[in-house]
Symmetry: D2
Subunit: 336 residues, 4 copies
Amino acid sequence: MIKVGIIGAGRIGKVHITSIATRVKDAVVKSVADPFMNDETAAWAKAMGVEVVTKDYKEILADPEIAAVLICSSTDTHSPISVEAIKAGKHVFCEKPIDHDIEKIQQVIDALEGTNLKYQVGFNRRFDHNYEAVQRAVAEGKIGKPEIIKITSRDPEPPSIDYVKVSGGMFLDMTIHDFDMARFLAGCDAEEVYVQGANLVDPAIGEAGDVDTAVITMKMENGAIVVIDNSRRSAYGYDQRAEVFGSEGMVACENDSQSKAVLSNADGVTAEKPLFFFLERYMDAYGKEVSMFIDAIVNDKEAPLNVYDGLKPVLMGLAAKKSYEEHRPVKISEIM
Amino acid sequence: MIKVGIIGAGRIGKVHITSIATRVKDAVVKSVADPFMNDETAAWAKAMGVEVVTKDYKEILADPEIAAVLICSSTDTHSPISVEAIKAGKHVFCEKPIDHDIEKIQQVIDALEGTNLKYQVGFNRRFDHNYEAVQRAVAEGKIGKPEIIKITSRDPEPPSIDYVKVSGGMFLDMTIHDFDMARFLAGCDAEEVYVQGANLVDPAIGEAGDVDTAVITMKMENGAIVVIDNSRRSAYGYDQRAEVFGSEGMVACENDSQSKAVLSNADGVTAEKPLFFFLERYMDAYGKEVSMFIDAIVNDKEAPLNVYDGLKPVLMGLAAKKSYEEHRPVKISEIM
Amino acid sequence: MIKVGIIGAGRIGKVHITSIATRVKDAVVKSVADPFMNDETAAWAKAMGVEVVTKDYKEILADPEIAAVLICSSTDTHSPISVEAIKAGKHVFCEKPIDHDIEKIQQVIDALEGTNLKYQVGFNRRFDHNYEAVQRAVAEGKIGKPEIIKITSRDPEPPSIDYVKVSGGMFLDMTIHDFDMARFLAGCDAEEVYVQGANLVDPAIGEAGDVDTAVITMKMENGAIVVIDNSRRSAYGYDQRAEVFGSEGMVACENDSQSKAVLSNADGVTAEKPLFFFLERYMDAYGKEVSMFIDAIVNDKEAPLNVYDGLKPVLMGLAAKKSYEEHRPVKISEIM
Amino acid sequence: MIKVGIIGAGRIGKVHITSIATRVKDAVVKSVADPFMNDETAAWAKAMGVEVVTKDYKEILADPEIAAVLICSSTDTHSPISVEAIKAGKHVFCEKPIDHDIEKIQQVIDALEGTNLKYQVGFNRRFDHNYEAVQRAVAEGKIGKPEIIKITSRDPEPPSIDYVKVSGGMFLDMTIHDFDMARFLAGCDAEEVYVQGANLVDPAIGEAGDVDTAVITMKMENGAIVVIDNSRRSAYGYDQRAEVFGSEGMVACENDSQSKAVLSNADGVTAEKPLFFFLERYMDAYGKEVSMFIDAIVNDKEAPLNVYDGLKPVLMGLAAKKSYEEHRPVKISEIM
């Protein structure tokens, strides 16, 4: 039974506390830290069996009983806290992205050098039942050699403009999940990225210097072409699909919905909308990624995603940004 | 190139004239007869290339050039005209049902005795692409031994009360297609029928002595259980589905719709309704049944359905009627 | 926070212990009793936080701290332990069926008389996301007045012959869930039952005096016709579907599968099979029914199912048995 | 009743002869010309009611009885014969593309100047039931303002290398249909094209200087982004789908298959593959486009597609070619 500390008690921090409490046998959350910790959250954490509630994550890093930390704090703190935690000898699960700055990710890589610590990045979608099944079909050769990979990722509603301003831009904030998915499904890295982006959803997003709609085309190292389409607003809910077309067939996944009830009447044959919210769609995936992180520690296995899996999508996101700004295809090698 | 006469120029007569004109290479419609022939129909028939337009079907039977007739007149005339046509040496395609009276069907059987004439009954659904595919899967053993067969057959709207009164009742008018489908899918005859019927759609149908909603359960000779559900009114259009469950799997077919377009919005994910009208759904099947009738004549093959295939569903319908009246399971052997 | 005792630590007892531990906030399992309690189960229960592990359920009934019991022991003990528990002042959640003997259920009803105790029966399917959505559409009037209700319920594989012999027969063991579903979807009770049953799956089941395949037709009090089709063996997994057809439309639900991945290749377009096992399909529903039982106690609400909801499906099962034996439609009023 | 001449008696010429014979009331095919006319084709044409069979299309142009011609000859003859036919006072239906050379299309435009002749280009997919339904939903505002349009178009098998060499390249030969579809669904013209292309299917195609796999991204004049994905080989058949995502929802269409039968067994739940061949998928659309051409003549309406609808996709194809060669986004305005 290993003890875990959670750094950051926002929405995703709570998701991980719940998952560990209810689904992970070999771990308990001993401590949770958040600079904005309030009474309500503290009481909730206590009820979930968390022993220590603090405002200072350094308490967690100083606790020799704690073997691993989950970094769920604001994005700008991911890489410095990662480095600190590694230096304190903790295994680290870090929410995505590690950082928007490649040098800072390099510092995390450097810190890991020579340790035996696990470092897993929170690309939860790899653990989703649908994407897992698609990837498995590809990996098992059921569609032959992959040639065209299509990823649709549309949010139900745009974030606040305040968030947009600090998000690092849509490619590093939202598309980054799809960049990871591209690598997951293709089984290799990207070589080149081209973006056709637009500001169609909310003019304020454009004024904040960001896009809200984009089609991103990539050439992968194995020759496959990936196309991602993104929108910050989907009237019918959270749209998360993928399709891999190859030399011997195609595998694709549709959205999940709350139920499989279908109503037929004079207006048509109507099924339910996709689940609206990412926490509904991916709750199970969040539980699974943390279970596998704990399993990697307890049984000294490789974590399912490592620090380089955290780095690569950032490179792709920076290439996408550059492609959009310079209106031309950009090679990943131009970024590094 | 054989010449054909059409007896009855109503809706279904016109369907067959069109099919032969546009889809059947080896036949032409030479003549059409209808006691209520009007100028409009006559002009239409001429434009379709029909040479002779008459009120008297006996002209057709007397024409030595005509090798085959299609009997599309009112139900009560099916069996007597069948007998006359056979005696005149014509091959016969007869719309369903041959008759509601077993003895009259027997007269048709007797008339056929010793001739080499083809006699095909118009159970068009056997030629529908969906039912054909289901039946083929069963016949090829893809589901093992059939055990439970479910047939859904719901009309978009009830017929007029005038029609209800002369229809012979829902079991002989509407369910008769499903009785044929049961034989087609099971690959054998029925032994016993039980009806749970109701008058739920329109009280006037009940006052006319008929049901408009029913679930009919049958035991087939091969041990399979068939269940048919019928309604005279389906708010979402013509509902025509079948499912065959067997020892090694299940095969089922869904409805056809005008297009495969699907709209996703805040209200849900909406596909089109089934095709509303039987002529839309089965137009292709009507063409195919007539092609096969002509092919059977030209190439002296067995017609895909014979006079006994016309008789059996009538027996099943009479058993259903008796079951409903006596509120008990009725054996087919009680009818004959 | 109320304390709960679990009587019976078999498969379903463990499901409920897990649900309460991980999903039910207002309750803890204090004790578990099973006459065949072994070390492994005892250790598992301790790890789940259960304080008392015993072979004697009477210890649970005698514990004044325990407010409610879940009866998960063998079927023949359901009604006597129910009566004892009620007399000991405990709220009762009883697995289905309460008993196969109407008089024994009557004793439970009598015991409840004058108490304020909750008595909930474990018809878990009412809490399944798909059936809930179908029922909600019916209850909200989206399909108008229900007219034809179809319930498909096919097990992935037959039980052992030893089990078949003590099961009370397929109608009381398996179809009983579907009888409850018929009441749930129709919103009323059954009047009459007719069974067409067969022994098609395994001759040994027939030799044990039972059927393994059946189509059950029922007339409901509101005039709707229900048809249930059952098989003890479905090659493609656990098949659990329902369809309600009414005056203004139809609502239906399909099976759940592990993922929504679909493979298209030269062989066709292949989706996953339904979930194979009832614990996979209904795990969420098991959690929800127990949550609602605890909620009913804590907040003094009506339990979602009461003792009469336990009685009615047994009456329907006994009527089905009689219908099969006497080969005729049987009224529910003949049973009482 | 107008008389029509068919120039070119290959596969598509025969399709049009059949459509006019069986589906178009107001026209007859009087003549058919093909430089490689053989006895078999001549006999077939006679049997279809064609009066004049010739090797020289100039005979058709010289026939004053003929009001309209359908140009179904080899691509390089489309524009010169168009000009000749217009000068001979004939309405023209021309198979796609008019020409690969913009100047030659301009000559057709010049020839039409000042005449009242109809000139329709054979982009048949606009008349397909699925694409029509998608376009109608967009045009009716059901998805709000279009933002992302996805078109999948994959052939079942690559053409012969001999054909590839004279085809003008995949963008002008195959993608040209998708360029037309982009304009049809977006309701406006393209501004800019970017191609990510590859040679993945057959090295011989690459050696012939062409691609066989591509993702084409376009910016449309209304701000929408279009993405087309193409492959010359799809293991599961002809894959023809479209999806339009907009501010208020999404409309998409799936492939057609031969039947809606679905087999469930131990291997999964398997539906039929898409129709394999374009003539199966689009037979109805071919009939409809010709009906509308004749209707435009007879009733002096606008033809559903005019000469500019023939020009624009060629511009898009040339821009795509340039984008692939220069590996950068290319504006349509660079081509003209």
